[in-house]
């Protein structure tokens, strides 16, 4: 038996659902094929134990596409924020704290406790980064070609630096305080800080906005997983069909063009176009190994994705006290003492080992949102990176080690926290199963088209790997859908 659709979207993640919503709205017959038994299985939220609501992958939102909210008022209405603009708080080894917030005076005062010169350099650093980031929005948000000649001369100078320098060298040239540099660098730590262009993710983060606030990091009410169900119901309302438990086995390709997909159940669906929210590698190598050019497959095989992200979530019976009252309640905490901590962790993770000191970001959503934990209890989530994707020991061995390390560090930061722990869960790169691809400058400044198109006609990519930097955004889904909808 076979069904016919205009477009099949592989994966009911944020981007897959966004793309489906747009295509359905444009009048296409769309089917979303989700391998898991439940929609938003990976991008939604889950109950750690009774009454404790935790996200599955992302713990904050910072790259949400404003256009998606504008185009789908139901999502906009459903999304409420517990905090719109979290301060970024660096926690040092010996109890040192640095707080980076929107209040420049407060931030300068906080930095001055560590390095006077850095405090002086901060306002112009931040202003310069935000100015250049705003100028980059047109290409990052709309898919327009990027024209460096359109930049002002000071923007051009900063851009040239960011292009050639590594994040480590760039931050070293701006600041002295190791804690400040590590706190800033964590947001770029999805890739190596030693490669040219590795500071560009910081610029990209600065270009994003939440509710019109540039560079903000927000915490949605009901956990960061609250977005996925909203998108899912929007897509269905718009007319998209969502099939769960429908794992795609392979793409049907006829003389270089997609004609449909075959599910693992043996069922085939005919369609004119396929949007895959899997990575380029997993899409071409996994679903169409016979149809893609051999040279490309070899190139894809060659670039192994070595480092990834883990999420450690804890249910606590009492409130943690991470910064000893030295930071605002609405904060995300970065645990990385020096740049070298992140660099060494990346080198270890690339070699398949768990680093001695692991950098991570802590959020305590329950302090700002009573709906995610029972009264008096708390939820604490840690975004841990870089960690190895496929360690030789296997994640079964590494998981308890990682948990022990994180809990050990948390206990140092907030003494007496250990007895309060009621439950722990760890999501490893293995659980996520897909990858976001390698972070390269080409990807960050190159045209959207190049990331969406594939050598197979009718096959497009729309996942987080299409974004300049992988993030929960929906933009990749929107731009990929526009490209497909524009076709006859």
């Amino acid at each position: 038996m076979s069904d016919t659709f205009d477009v099949a979207v592989i994966g009911a993640g944020i981007d897959g659902l966004t793309a489906a919503a747009y295509l359905a709205k444009a009048g296409k017959r769309v089917v979303v094929l989700e391998a898991q038994a439940k929609v938003c299985g990976l991008c939604g939220s889950t109950e750690l134990r009774d009454g404790f609501l935790v996200p599955r992958v992302a713990q904050t939102l910072y790259a949400l596409d404003p256009q998606v909210l504008k185009d789908f008022p139901s999502v906009q209405r459903g999304l409420a924020f517990a905090a719109r603009d979290l301060a970024q708080v660096g926690l040092g080894e010996d109890g040192r704290v640095v707080t980076l917030s929107r209040d420049t005076n407060e931030t300068v005062r906080s930095i001055a406790l560590h390095a006077r010169a850095d405090a002086q350099a901060w306002p112009s650093f931040r202003a310069g980064l935000f100015r250049l980031a705003r100028a980059m929005r047109s290409s990052w948000w709309t898919g327009e070609a990027f024209d460096p000649d359109a930049l002002s001369s000071s923007n051009r100078a900063t851009f040239a630096e960011l292009q050639t320098m590594s994040a480590a060298a760039w931050l070293d040239s701006r600041f002295e305080s190791g804690l400040l540099k590590a706190t800033l660098a964590f947001d770029a730590a999805a890739g190596s800080l030693l490669e040219p262009g590795s500071a560009l993710p910081l610029l990209w983060r600065a270009a994003q906005e939440i509710d019109g606030v540039q560079g903000a990091v927000a915490l949605p009410r009901g956990s960061a997983g609250a977005l996925a169900p909203l998108l899912s119901s929007t897509a269905i309302q718009a007319g998209a069909t969502v099939q769960t438990g429908a794992r795609v086995a392979r793409l049907l390709v006829d003389t270089g063009s997609v004609t449909g997909v075959e599910l693992e159940s043996g069922e085939t669906l005919l369609c004119g176009a396929v949007l895959s929210s899997l990575s380029r590698r997993n899409t071409l190598l996994g679903l169409a190994p016979d149809a893609a050019p051999l040279a490309l497959l070899r190139a894809l095989q060659r670039i192994p994705v070595r480092t990834g992200t883990a999420l450690v979530t804890l249910a606590l019976s009492d409130a943690p006290n991470l910064a000893r009252g030295e930071a605002p309640l609405a904060s995300r905490y970065i645990v990385a003492d020096r740049l070298e901590t992140i660099i060494a962790a990346d080198l270890a993770a690339r070699a398949g080992r768990l680093p001695d000191e692991i950098p991570f970001e802590i959020v305590v959503p329950s302090q700002l949102d009573g709906s995610v934990a029972p009264p008096g209890s708390h939820v604490l989530t840690c975004l841990v990176r870089p960690v190895p994707v496929a360690p030789p020991e296997g994640w079964n061995v590494l998981k308890p080690k990682l948990t022990a390390k994180i809990i050990g560090t948390l206990d140092r930061l907030s003494p007496g926290l250990v007895p309060d722990i009621m439950a722990v869960d760890v999501i490893t790169p293995e659980d996520i199963a897909d990858e976001d691809g390698v972070q390269t400058p080409e990807r960050m400044i190159g045209p959207w088209r190049a990331r969406i198109d594939t050598p197979i006609a009718g096959l497009y990519l729309c996942g987080a790997g299409v974004e300049p930097v992988a993030a929960v955004s929906g933009r990749a889904g929107r731009i990929a859908a526009a490209l497909v909808a524009g076709k006859p």
């Binding site: 070609a145 990027f146 024209d147 460096p148 000649d149 051009r156 100078a157 851009f159 040239a160 630096e161 292009q163 050639t164 320098m165 590594s166 060298a169 070293d172 040239s173 190596s192 030693l194 490669e195 040219p196 262009g197 060659r302 670039i303 070298e340 660099i343 060494a344 080198l347 270890a348 690339r350 070699a351 390269t440 400058p441 080409e442 400044i445």
Partner: protein, 480 residues
């Protein structure tokens, strides 16, 4: 007495510059800290009867134009190539290596022409289509942005390993990181080979050429400062308290040392000060010179006795050692490259005996637990001996000498013992290296030769040669 030009450092760059200046009729003096000229082009007795070049066996290529112009062949600088490389027992075929090295030489030659202002050479393959002239950075191509493993991905594994081993000998780099392909260019797979009699022969040939042209070479004379008059170079202060008056100077010290140790910091413009402070240097080389009782037995081909033997064979070996280096730890297995230098050059060891040199990479300049002590040297020596035993199991050692990065700093004045004169990274290579005014510097009358020049890691002698050309041109234009 007033000179037209003073050159700091009698290394290959200083000597090449001196020859060019003196030939143009300038009254030229070369000031050298050590007892003899040559810089890293020296060869010394490290054990009675055994000689080796302590700092390196081979250098980046001497460009043909300079080589023949200075008449170095007639002065005894004869190179013989080292075609064979042995990686964990496998011999790398020469054809692929030769082909790849030719590609490297082309790229280097292109960069030299550009640096010399001879031709507006378009970049080999522009990296970003959206990168335009208005973005003032050097054109970035595959060499700057790929990882070494990507660059070598199409080659057979043994050949790729040989190129990697050769490029990374004595260096610290993770070949899987983007940007690491630059190490294939610098210090240069383009090397012309090993000099008969050791690098001292090349040093002597260069010094002879400079002297014949009329340059004065003064050794045991360390420059400690540059005095300016009306913001122009006026005199060089020496360690003995005397001064040499000069109209211009070429420093062959690295950029960092030139700016931060020869000037009062208050005399430097803030931008220059900042640039020099943020210029990154990274020492990574150790050398182990070994006197052996007998020539090691070669299992197979006798021609192998002239090969280079590498102990690291995979990108992971290098990545592992690099991680240790970054955290200031002596790697468990530092990548080592061994050569029986006496096999092709009988002047380096007594008859029947052998001199082996070992170049070790990923050796930190500063260790996490402090400065290099005898104990640390002992640890490294043991690891080097393990590498020797693994390569030549029957080796019986008569004597040895170990040099670690601080020794290079002491002997050559290289900041952090960095023999490349600055970290090899896209923002510090080609036109992005040191100062944008190069071969001039922000200080009027001061020129930069030496390893921190754009051509420094790519070629031997070229940066001094080009700095001298700029000095002569400015003088002609009345700017001097």
């Amino acid at each position: 007495m007033r000179y037209d030009a003073a050159i700091l450092g009698a290394g290959p760059d200083g000597l090449a510059a001196a020859a060019r200046l003196a030939r143009a009729g300038l009254k030229t003096i070369v000031l050298e800290k050590s007892a003899g000229p040559g810089g890293r082009c020296t060869t010394a007795t490290f054990h009675p009867g055994f000689r080796a070049s302590p700092f390196a066996d081979e250098l980046a290529p001497v460009p043909a134009g300079i080589f023949w112009s200075l008449d170095l062949a007639r002065r005894g600088a004869i190179f013989f190539p080292q075609p064979l490389h042995v990686i964990s027992g496998a011999v790398a075929g020469t054809q692929v290596l030769t082909k790849f090295c030719a590609q490297v030489r082309t790229r280097i030659a292109q960069e030299l022409r550009r640096a010399d202002g001879k031709a507006e050479v378009p970049p080999a393959k522009p990296w970003l289509p959206w990168q335009t002239e208005s973005v003032r950075v050097a054109p970035l191509d595959d060499w700057s942005l790929q990882s070494m493993t990507d660059m070598l991905a199409d080659l057979a594994p043994t050949e790729a390993a040989a190129l990697m081993a050769r490029a990374l000998a004595g260096r610290a780099a993770d070949p899987t990181l983007r940007g690491s392909a630059l190490h294939l260019l610098a210090p240069g797979l383009g090397s012309s080979g090993i000099v008969t009699g050791g690098l001292a022969t090349l040093g002597a040939a260069l010094a002879g050429s400079a002297r014949e042209a009329g340059a004065e070479i003064v050794c045991s004379s360390e420059a400690t400062g540059i005095r300016q008059t009306r913001s122009r170079v006026a005199a060089i202060a020496l360690a003995d308290g005397s001064e040499i008056e000069t109209a211009a100077a070429i420093s062959t010290l690295d950029f960092k040392r030139t700016m931060l140790s020869l000037f009062r910091w208050s005399d430097l413009p803030e931008a220059v000060m900042k640039r020099a402070t943020h210029y990154r240097t990274a020492g990574s080389t150790a050398r182990f010179l070994i006197a052996l009782e007998a020539m090691p037995r070669m299992a197979g081909d006798a021609a192998l006795s002239r090969a280079t033997f590498h102990t690291a064979s995979t990108p992971e070996d290098y990545a592992h050692a690099y991680a240790a280096w970054r955290s200031g730890v002596i790697p468990e297995k530092p990548p080592a490259s061994l050569r029986i230098v006496s096999a092709g050059d009988l002047s380096l060891a007594p008859r029947g005996q052998a001199t082996v040199t070992m170049t070790l990479g990923c050796i930190p300049h500063r260790l996490f637990d402090g400065a290099w002590t005898e104990e640390h040297r002992g640890v490294l020596r043991d690891r080097a001996l393990a590498a020797l035993g693994a390569t030549f199991p029957d080796a019986k050692i008569l004597g040895s000498r170990l040099l670690v990065p601080p020794d290079f700093e002491e002997a050559l004045g290289a900041t952090d013992g960095d023999l490349a004169g600055g970290e090899i990274a896209p923002d510090q290579m080609f036109a992005n290296r040191a100062c944008p005014e190069w071969p001039r510097t922000p200080i009027a009358g001061l020129y930069l030769g030496g390893p921190s020049s754009p051509t420094g890691p790519l070629a031997t002698g070229a940066s001094g040669w080009i700095a001298a050309k700029a000095l002569i041109a400015d003088r002609g234009a009345g700017r001097s």
